[in-house]
Amino acid sequence: MTDENNEVAENATQTRVSELLSSLECTVTCAYDGMASVQCAPELIHAICAKLKTEGGFEGNTLVTAIDHGAGLEQRFEMVYQFLSMEHTQRVRVRAMTTGDDPEVDTITDLWPGTAFSERECFDLLGVRFAGHENLRRILMPEGFEHHPLRKDFPHIGIEPDKLYQKWDEERRSAFAEKEAGK
């Protein structure tokens, strides 16, 4: 594939997505990596995704994640979604800046059930909540872990990393001691 062809493909995607989303309040640009990028408000994420799937032919979701731009910022977390259309051989990216330290956006699991895992990971590591997600619990870190490790204000050595183990160990020992005392 030559650069010329790439350019044509990019422009085609951008044009098609712009026309598709003309009724919604968003801007469609061509990102530095050549992918069409939709920027919108976090409230519009679900509406835009639904339109991309039903009318745009983007039948596959490839990425759900968030970017932490730094603690203390007004607009701290940026949601990023990427979709793939096998029919049109096109990709599109949806980005939305959220506000606050504990953001919440609508889930898109009703459109792509497979995003349930991506959203769980995003919640686990970055602390973004997904309204409407049926099973929003941790996926990588153990149950009971209190922090979100990929946040910028989380120290890389952790905060009391052995806390859960010590708690489990104490419970186990006290249960054993009770059993021994009952003999």
Binding site: P142, I157, D162
Partner: protein, 200 residues
């Protein structure tokens, strides 16, 4: 039947005078049954060590059983995360005495390059480790060398001390030598009512 002397055949070729500790240690150290806990890439070197090229069977430690109930050498090979630590501790508790622990590779020994929130910074914070093997991952030769070192250490133990406890001055003959020698039998001896996990 006439009188039989121990110097006559076949007894002269079948008996040897030794001490009980030495025999028990000799049997234990040459039939270590490892419990392989391949947690990451060290597990690959561990498999190579069991294989024909390095052949751990030469040292009597090839009978790897994947159940802790039948093992006496826990080989923690690789990065131990805090999420996995509970499982490893349970495996150790399920192993019958006497038991030994090998920390294979820098990740198991110190956390290695994983200076992060999710990795145990050295398994000696949750297990009593007998031998550390450096390397990332260590070569199978190095692990075999550490097994030989562990065997030398097992030879120093006093497994029959409990049996002969009533006999005064049996071990040191009044010289105090037993107090100065490394003696895991004393360390590992469980008092009645002692809790699991009191060994570290």
């Amino acid at each position: 039947m006439g009188q039989v002397s121990l110097t006559d055949a076949p007894f002269s070729e079948s008996f040897a005078a030794t001490n009980l500790d030495w025999v028990v240690n000799w049997a234990r150290k040459n039939s270590l049954w490892p419990m392989p806990l391949g947690l990451s890439c060290c597990g690959i070197e561990l498999m190579a060590m069991f294989g024909p090229k390095f052949d751990l069977a030469r040292f009597g430690a090839e009978a790897a059983r994947f159940t802790p109930r039948q093992c006496d050498l826990l080989v923690v090979a690789g990065t131990l995360t805090w999420k996995m630590a509970q499982a490893v501790r349970l495996v150790y508790d399920q192993m019958p005495e006497p038991k030994w622990v090998m920390s294979m590779g820098v990740c198991a020994s110190t956390g290695g390059m994983y200076d992060t929130y999710s990795v145990v910074q050295g398994i000696d914070s949750i297990l009593p480790v007998d031998v550390y093997v450096p390397g990332c991952p260590p070569r199978p030769d190095a692990v075999i060398d550490s097994i030989i070192k562990l065997q030398d250490r097992i030879q120093l133990e006093r497994p029959t001390r409990d049996l002969l406890e009533g006999i005064p001055d049996y071990h040191d003959m009044g010289t105090g030598a037993a107090e100065r020698q490394p003696n895991r039998a004393v360390i590992q001896k469980k008092k009645p009512g002692a809790l699991i996990g009191d060994d570290i």
